[in-house]
């Protein structure tokens, strides 16, 4: 009973012009898989002026295992794509987490103690709502061609592209792509068609995941239990979603029988212990195990893997779909720049270089969380239990308690960045996304830094008496103190922004160079470097 609920949104198959073409049609970019990651990639490319074909083998959304936690960085990306505000409005915003041992509260944490960010630390929202928002957005974009019920069955590598054979309800057809983006998930068909090895660690522990409909006034916070009385000896997680839906995640151990554990009566009995005295209805139930693994290389000639097709982690820490959307954003601007002839081909290689760092960081965090929750032996369990026993009285032990280290953006060791020649304090880090900051427009209307960026390369320059400097070619300029006003001084604080300070921002809102004063030659050089020209 993997899906108690039927799918929510249906879309129709439509015959594509390619299917009637006399000769094989060629597209600059084809994305395979219209999940959150593929949709984000396609929309980003489309907004950057690259025509995209997006294929999906289904014609509906709302089935299957789903993410619910969307991190701040992901929301910032989705905001740039045009759906961020809609999602935040719809989702449940949370920033508090509580960790219990037995039935005692060990500690609580606040994920966004700082004001002045447009996006919250996290929202919870059912994945199908996020997919629906992205599909709606993609339908507004004339150069994005979304084809449902288009299943890839063949892939031939060409010297400078790939040829796809696609099956539809009306038979097969073929077309070519200069670049093929594989966003087709953990069971990637494209990975299989290329015969790529997907090696890593499989964890034996089985988990029960359930979404229940329940009217309850539990506070909006992430709750995690080690060995609560209602679920003996194992861990449990509870999270709120919109529509009075709650996510319950119960560790069942390695020996659980997946068939028996999905029997509705058995699931209900387990959940009643968690939720009593509240009445609830089951929305969706599944048993899962998980893997931590990645492809050796994310780029195979003209086929680029993103999201779960490239790497998989455990669900603890919200690092799956979030990192996939961050892959999509990292690749989109680079591919667009290469297709437009603005960048060297090696810029694409930097996608792999940067996102493998992120994948390894995510796999590392996810593996450590899992090791803490599911010790491998009684000796390891004894040490884990010692940490839990010390946690109420010792701060150092609380810091070791690991119920999932929640996703934050990776700071890359990036060849696209120009190393600092003077020290900068503040929250802004080279090769990381800019911290957001509250500003005001010229007319006094409030605005945030990130939503004010152009989406291309951009200089953010702090006014220093003189009129603003001339813009280097291909780089937008925003002057703090002119275009945007830092009335609260938080931009200055977060960027260590003294008068004249100059920040070069990548199209994906990452900081790639900074100086204490405006130097057009240095900026041009850093821009070339970031484009690998």
């Amino acid at each position: 009973m993997n899906a108690l609920r039927k799918s929510i949104y249906h879309y129709g198959y439509r015959r594509a012009r390619d299917q009637d073409a006399e000769t094989v049609v060629r597209h600059p970019v084809v994305v395979v898989g219209a999940g959150p990651v593929g949709l984000a990639a396609a929309i980003d490319l489309s907004l950057r002026g690259v025509p995209v074909v997006l294929l999906d083998d289904a014609d509906r959304i709302g089935e299957g295992s789903r993410g619910i936690c969307w991190s701040k960085r992901t929301l910032e990306i989705l905001d740039r794509l045009g759906v961020g505000e809609r999602l935040v409005e719809h989702g449940v915003t949370w920033k508090l987490g509580k960790v219990f041992c037995g039935d005692e509260l060990l500690f609580s944490f606040d994920l966004l103690p700082e004001e002045g960010h447009k996006m919250p630390a996290f929202i919870n929202l059912q994945q199908f709502y996020l997919e629906k928002a992205l599909v709606d957005r993609s339908l507004e974009l004339p150069n994005l061609d979304l084809r449902w019920k288009n299943r890839v069955v063949g892939l031939d590598r060409l010297n400078d592209g790939a040829r796809l054979t696609v099956e539809t309800p009306e038979g097969r057809y073929r077309f070519d792509a200069d670049w093929l983006i594989a966003a087709d998930g953990a069971r990637s068909t494209l990975r299989g068609l290329l015969g790529l090895d997907f090696a890593g660690v499989t964890f034996e522990d089985k988990f029960l995941i359930a979404d229940v409909h329940m009217a309850a006034d539990f506070p909006t916070e992430r709750r995690f239990w080690f060995a609560p009385s209602f679920h003996s000896g194992q861990s449990a997680l509870m999270h709120r979603q919109p529509d009075d839906v709650w996510r319950i995640d119960l560790q069942l151990g390695p020996d659980a029988d997946p068939q028996a554990e999905q029997e509705p009566a058995r699931v209900r009995a387990r959940l009643e212990k968690v939720l009593a005295p509240h009445a609830f209805e089951l929305e969706w139930v599944s048993i899962y195990t998980f893997n931590c693994r990645r492809l050796d290389r994310f780029i195979h000639d003209r086929v680029v893997f993103i999201g779960d097709a490239a790497h998989q982690v455990s669900p603890f820490g919200a690092r799956g779909a979030n990192s996939g959307i961050q892959d999509a954003e990292n690749l989109a601007w680079k591919l667009a720049a290469v297709l437009k002839g603005e960048a060297g081909h090696t810029l694409i290689a930097s996608y792999e270089h940067e996102r493998i760092q992120a994948a390894d960081e995510n796999i590392g965090h996810s593996t450590r969380s899992t090791d803490f929750m599911s010790p491998h032996s009684s000796a390891e369990r004894r040490l884990r239990d010692a940490v839990l026993a010390l946690a109420p009285s010792a701060e150092f032990a609380r810091r070791m308690v690991n119920s999932g280290r929640l996703s934050v953006a990776t700071v890359y060791d990036s060849r696209l960045s120009t190393p600092d020649n003077t020290a900068f304090a503040g929250a802004a880090k080279l090769s990381a996304p800019l911290p957001d900051a509250p500003l005001a427009r010229r007319d006094g209307k409030p605005a945030h830094l990130l939503e004010s960026l152009s989406g291309g390369f951009e200089i953010v320059y702090v006014k220093n008496g003189n009129p603003g400097p001339p813009a280097p070619e291909g780089v937008a300029v925003t002057v703090i103190g002119e275009d945007l006003l830092d009335r609260q001084g938080l931009f200055a604080e977060r960027f260590d922004a003294t008068p004249g300070a100059t920040f070069l921002v990548r199209p994906d809102q990452h900081l790639c160079a900074r100086w204490r004063s405006f130097d057009a030659t240095a900026i041009a050089r850093a821009h070339q470097r970031a484009l690998q020209r």
Binding site: R382, D385, A386, V387, A389, L390, F396, A397, M400
Partner: protein, 64 residues
Amino acid sequence: MPKLATASRFADPDAAYLALVEARRNLSDAQAAELDSKLVLILANHVGDLDVLREAIALAKESR
């Protein structure tokens, strides 16, 4: 350069050993193992240096 101090640092080593012995007197193996786990964590945090911790682990594993 090893950072782990292996020269004696207690003015009265016998008293230090006695304190550790007395802590486990009348404990079962399981209780003593639990105590040792906590002590390891507490003392490791007090040291607060991952290099020293790794050297200590290596020394503990190689000596028999």
